[in-house]
């Protein structure tokens, strides 16, 4: 069972839940819930949690549910953060780096081409290195940043999960980075929205790969 966190101001939790239900079972987790018993995987979805006041994700990181997610992640449970969820996970220091306002200062909403890296952890073993995924982005603050020394270490440890395809970096992210994992590889964050790419009717179903990866990581963690 996969839990999708719902903050006040989340807006993609239902799409994420519907994507989960194409590959397994899921339920919403209200931001005041602190008991994640029975959940084998967690999604921190997109939106504008708590209005994104101060900085995107800055307030959400202190929510009761996020404290529970931190414990869940520390125990090795798989966590997938999408867009605002990625920002929240960075603010919570579950992932390295930060997301800054887009270089062009515009809200960007379009399909992008992602290239999967050879990265560590359960998500990495479920997604083939070099796979190309066509998935939409829609964000105002998606410019990934981390200090050079952190980037070098992440490269060496296989913690860059996805890059925008050459020439397709929409926001000025350093190293074309679209997604990263934590040290153990069980926490993955990315700016593009795989939950909006689960049916060819709306452009592509390449996003399903992420939800299948989460489902298999969840089964492995539960076993």
């Amino acid at each position: 069972m996969i839990g999708v966190i719902q903050f006040p101001g989340s807006c993609d939790e239902r799409d994420a839940l519907s994507a989960v239900e194409r590959v397994g079972e899921g339920r919403l987790v209200w931001h005041e819930e602190t008991d994640l018993t029975g959940l084998d995987g967690i999604i921190v979805p997109g939106g504008f949690s708590y209005g994104d006041y101060l900085r995107a994700g800055a307030i959400a990181r202190f929510s009761p549910a996020m404290e529970a997610v931190k414990r869940f992640a520390a125990g090795g449970g798989p966590v997938l953060g999408i867009c605002n969820g990625f920002q929240v996970l960075c603010e919570a220091a579950l992932l390295p780096g930060a997301l800054l306002p887009n270089e062009g200062l515009r809200f960007i909403c379009r399909q992008v081409e992602l290239v999967a890296e050879d990265f560590t952890g359960p998500f990495g073993s479920a997604i083939g290195a070099g796979d190309r995924l066509s998935i939409p982005v829609k964000h105002m603050s998606g410019r990934y940043f981390a200090p050079d020394e952190d980037l070098d270490r992440m490269e060496a440890e296989g913690r860059i999960a996805f890059r925008y395809a050459p020439g397709d970096n929409p926001n000025g992210s350093v190293g074309d980075i679209a997604g990263v994992v934590n040290e153990a590889g069980n926490v993955l964050g990315l700016m593009p929205h795989p939950e909006h790419a689960v049916d060819p009717l709306t452009g592509s179903d390449h996003g399903l790969a992420l939800f299948r990866a989460l489902a298999s990581a969840s089964q492995a963690a539960a076993a």
Binding site: L54, R55, L100, E103, R143
Partner: protein, 75 residues
């Protein structure tokens, strides 16, 4: 005690807001303005100013991308 916290993008980090403001100025006849950086100001009242730095590092600023300065204002 009243305090003002000034938060700004760290040096070396591209500030597109500052760039946009800078580019808008010549159109209004303001020539020769460079290196515009846009930050934010948080005003607050606190009973315990000794905790301000901690509070800034944990919430008001993200030390990875922002610098902050605390100014105490005597009433």
């Amino acid at each position: 005690m009243k305090a003002k916290v000034l938060i700004r993008p760290k040096e070396g980090i591209l500030d597109p807001q500052g760039k946009a403001v800078e580019r808008a100025l010549p159109a209004l006849g303001f020539e020769g303005v460079h290196d515009v950086r846009v930050g934010r100001l948080v005003e607050l009242e606190t009973d315990d100013p000794s905790k301000l730095d901690d509070l800034c590092e944990k919430l008001l600023a993200n030390p990875l991308i922002e610098d902050f300065e605390v100014e105490l204002v005597e009433k």
